[in-house]
Symmetry: C2
């Protein structure tokens, strides 16, 4: 089972994820995700580095083929820039693995936790784009950012501080500034739901790329997205369901 | 609190959603969502028709302003084509409402449940587009479908059978066929996680728009999305994390 732990706190982890981990003989995943879990002494933990997704997938499939009951854990939703794709890519390498009983358990992804804290920035059509170019050419990312701007989507940016390309987010903001209004609302949502959570609201013109680290999810609004000011509290960031009502 | 119940089964509802409903004096929402809940006799249910989102939001805010503890319930994630945007739009109508203690509790959205069942179709950059034109001009939807095709995103289509525009999905497929390969994998995921779940895998050329009803989520692949055949079981639908590896 490929399982999503959600953004961090137990209140956002599904009952299915909890039950799956409980039932597993082996838990495979990135170290910090495994550390979140209270595994029993009879359960085996297989922690690994964040970038070794394919190796982790192969290990999980090898263990499952040996008859072990394996939980592959991801933060957020395993289907959104996480382990599910890595496991299915690996499955094709070995005809025996295709016969395994594999299932995916969905979870709350980082953009959803960020959106919940911010108000309703994803209230209308949106795109999710990973800025990591470990596995795709930067040109593909540029093409998608352009298309997302041309379609006036709200844009959720994952992995804005890729170790392989730390300047990616700077280039992404430059590209978006050429195509979108400078006053477009932008939010940096860091570690939402965890003790070091930090939210920063700004605009595309003012957005400071250096605020983004590996734990940050960035939301860039559509032409309809707006801040709703409140007394003594952070403004809400909202994308209305209607389009063009103000024109 | 604006709460997401997830796609249907209790195993996909967050602990926070359950606790919020437990603590509520009043639960406001679309009838079928309220019917899922086992409310106590001291809790008041306010069920309404699906299309009256703004009225429902106003009722919830009025009750909260009276000092009631209100849970506004949505299927899926309230931030994704659901009640959160409606509540924040309504909040602007009354300065008193802006002072209320409002929060959003995220949930698993329909596309994530569909993706989990299908394999990993959202394994790379994707867009979510609602085909309902109740609140936005059809031209905006066309522009976004074109952009999503131009950016080679995986596309999750919500509300493919809007009562107001039942031919929308036919037009959407026609548009996508002009811009994407006919062999692009397509999935119709109906009522995922519920007793009447139905999954249909096909291609863009073969996709039958009449399979889509109000409970259907459609996933249209990118140029990288593929089916992985299995013996005696439905193929997996996977979008690999790498891009262009096969070219």
């Amino acid at each position: 089972m490929i399982v999503g732990l959600g953004p961090g706190p137990a209140k956002w982890m599904t009952p299915e994820a909890g039950a799956t981990i409980e039932a597993a003989s082996d838990v495979v995943g990135y170290g910090p995700y495994i550390e979140r879990l209270a595994l029993r002494s009879d359960q085996r933990a297989h922690a690994s580095d964040n970038r070794l997704e394919r190796d982790r997938a192969r290990l999980a499939l090898t263990l499952a083929a040996e008859g072990r009951t394996v939980a592959v854990v991801s933060g957020g939703d395993p289907g959104v820039f996480a382990m599910a794709a890595a496991v299915f890519e690996a499955i094709e390498e070995n005809p025996q693995w295709l016969k395994l009983d594999v299932a995916v358990s969905p979870g709350v992804s980082a953009m959803q936790a960020a959106a919940a804290r911010l108000g309703a920035p994803l209230g209308h059509d949106f795109c999710a784009i990973s800025l990591s170019d470990n596995l795709k050419p930067w040109g593909v990312i540029e093409r998608r950012l352009e298309a997302a701007a041309d379609g006036d989507f709200v844009i959720a940016l994952y992995n804005p501080a890729s170790r392989a390309r730390p300047t990616g987010i700077v280039e992404a903001f430059d590209l978006l500034r050429r195509r979108k209004a400078g006053a477009t609302p932008v939010a940096f949502a860091r570690a939402v739901g965890r003790s070091d959570e930090k939210l920063t609201l700004t605009t595309l013109d003012e957005a400071d790329a250096s605020l983004a680290d590996m734990a940050t999810l960035i939301v860039v609004g559509s032409s309809e997205t707006r801040f709703i000011a409140r007394e003594g509290a952070r403004p809400w960031m909202v994308t209305p369901r209607s389009y063009g009502a103000r024109r």
